[in-house]
């Protein structure tokens, strides 16, 4: 291969799992998590002390980051814009909610099986996974794409919201599931539990990030990018586009379910409002703002928007939705690649300055 030596090589991040962006993102997550733990362990009198409430808040952000990751996997890499991912998040949440309720009171009927943790954990994956399988199979087989798909995902989550609002469902009606006291024999209100859930959520983000990265750097990742950009072409070279979409949609729904399951014990309630179409749209805004098809962009977007939300809903509660809308419009117009796009551009410029000859190859 004489020519190969003279050619500039492929951008390593495209096919290698251990690319710079994987390493940096993992490192930031791990160091950030350890830092919070250390600062939390400091005595309360110390100026750098991080309170239990803050740890709980960060734990909640982690579950949002997980949800954003799930959306980015199918939106960024496959072009499927789901405006109903809140439904999968909520289903995971309800499964966990039932398990938590079962800790202190006997559940009626089929819900009794949720007393056992392995069953509950399985349901966290199965409930969203099976819904995604059935829904996706119908939609992708009929070649429902683009905005039509987005609209029916909205309808899906809205229909589930109506269903879960009904008392006959036996899932608490509009109040939802609450009164959680214990998880695996430990009190939910203890500081130790807050820290444990924070760590569990952080680890889940890390694992899901690695899973998504492994998928996107594999040939399947390239198949999905190709499907996103030229679906008909993929069919004519012999790929079953619907199977690819279905597989990733189910994986994405399961990640969202896990996110919901970790969210519920940290906030202490799950009710039908999580199925609200607006919540699912918010998730999409996080990903758009962070930057699509980079994975770390989704994590960043979820963190930034939710931090802003926490701060701004406290400072000016009425203005938050306007600010969110303005942010979305602004990002779409000025930064179509989101925050990740800005980072990539900045890195590209720096690299170009170091090695001018490389610029064209990475363009």
């Amino acid at each position: 291969m004489t020519t190969q030596a003279t050619l500039s090589g492929r951008d390593r991040s495209r096919q290698a799992f251990l690319s710079r962006s994987t390493l940096v993102t993992s490192l930031v997550l791990i160091v950030g998590m350890l830092l919070v733990l250390v600062l939390n362990a400091l005595p309360a009198s110390n100026a750098l002390h991080v309170s239990g409430a803050t740890v709980a808040l960060l734990g909640k952000y982690f579950t949002y980051m997980l949800l954003a990751l799930a959306v980015d996997l199918i939106w960024g890499y496959l072009g499927i814009l789901s405006l109903g991912h809140g439904a999968f998040f909520a289903l995971g949440g309800y499964a966990m909610g039932l398990y938590l309720n079962a800790q202190t009171s006997a559940l009626p009927g089929w819900q009794a099986m949720m007393t056992y943790f392995p069953v509950a954990a399985l349901m966290v994956l199965l409930a969203p996974g099976l819904l995604a399988l059935a829904f996706g199979w119908l939609a992708f087989r009929s070649r429902v794409t683009g905005v039509y798909f987005s609209i029916i995902t909205q309808a899906l989550t809205f229909a589930l919201m109506l269903a879960f609002n009904r008392n006959e469902m036996g899932l608490g009606g509009s109040t939802g599931l609450t009164r959680f006291y214990e998880l695996m024999g430990f009190s939910l209100s203890s500081e130790g539990m807050t820290v444990a859930l924070f760590v569990a959520s952080g680890v889940a983000v890390l694992l899901a990030f690695w899973l998504c990265r492994a998928i996107t750097v594999s040939r399947l990742g390239r198949v999905s990018l190709a499907t996103r950009d030229a679906e008909a072409r993929m069919r004519f070279i012999g790929y079953r586009v619907d199977h690819v979409k279905l597989a990733l949609f189910v994986v994405s729904a399961m990640i969202a379910g896990v996110a919901g399951a970790l969210y519920v014990p940290q906030v202490g309630i799950i009710n039908p409002s999580t199925f609200a179409p607006l919540f699912s749209i918010e998730v999409v805004v996080w990903v758009a703002l962070g930057g699509r098809a980079t994975l770390y962009g989704a994590l960043l977007g979820a963190l930034v928007v939710n931090y802003l939300k926490t701060v701004l809903t406290g400072a000016m509660p009425d203005a938050w939705l306007f600010i969110l809308g303005a942010l979305f419009v602004l990002v779409t117009m000025v930064l179509p690649q989101g925050i990740a796009g800005v980072i990539a551009k900045w890195r590209g410029r720096r690299r170009a300055a170091v090695r001018p000859g490389q610029r064209e190859a990475s363009a």
């Binding site: 500039s8 040939r219 990018l225 190709a226 950009d229 008909a232 072409r233 069919r235 004519f236």
Partner: protein, 285 residues
Amino acid sequence: MSGLESARFGRLRELARPDRVFDFMAPAQSPVDVRHGPILYLEDVSVSFDGFQAINGLNLTIDDGELRCIIGPNGAGKTTMMDIITGKTRPDTGQVWFGSRHNLLALDEPQIANLGIGRKFQKPTVFEALDVTENLELAMAGERRVWKTLLARLDHEGQARIDEVLETIGLNDERYRLAGVLSHGQKQWLEIGMLLMQRPRLLLVDEPVAGMTEPEMHRTAELLTRLAGQQSVVVVEHDMGFVRSIARQVTVLHQGSVLAEGSMDAVSSDPRVIEVYLGGDEESA
């Protein structure tokens, strides 16, 4: 509905075929049977869209290894014909056979593609977010199932095949460039290269030189003539100069059916052809 129905029965019939019971005995490479005739056979195919008769009693046979050019004015049904062969459109009536064994009307796009029919679109469609090598890798004949693609690695054989095709289409120096930044002509060649990776028996090429410069056109003509013989090639083209430079056998379509067939010289002196198509603008080519 009838298309779907026949697809179901086709699949059932496929299961019941005595010669396919011992699957492992079937030849691995290209199951197309051309011992008893042409590689592609269309008989009395008709299709209409909202009352417009796009294809009207079309009969067409393509022999194994043949290079066939199909010409015809706009709306003659050239692209619709390709849609029917590749499974995108189901005809109202008629038969379409690939070799003497495969009824294409019972199969869908991926199945037809995996049988060995490759198609190049009118507008070059390559995967712009991937580089040239990756484009070829995805098109490579082989495993298409989701789980297998997750674990797939490019082996030496595959790499060698990619190198070979890169050489054929002349994109060796562009192998790590994103397909999105290639020139129009390079995209067309890449798309032809992707078809080659599929190891097709039959290539359907829709307007390969549209928008190409003169030298690019020459290279494309050379590429297509080199391919014929190894596989059958059907080229739909508007550019008469280009057709004249590659064609041995030309079919003229008009209003959804065959108007004339023969060598370029015979066809272009046919008065009916001159009337509907070549007429005034022959010189412009």
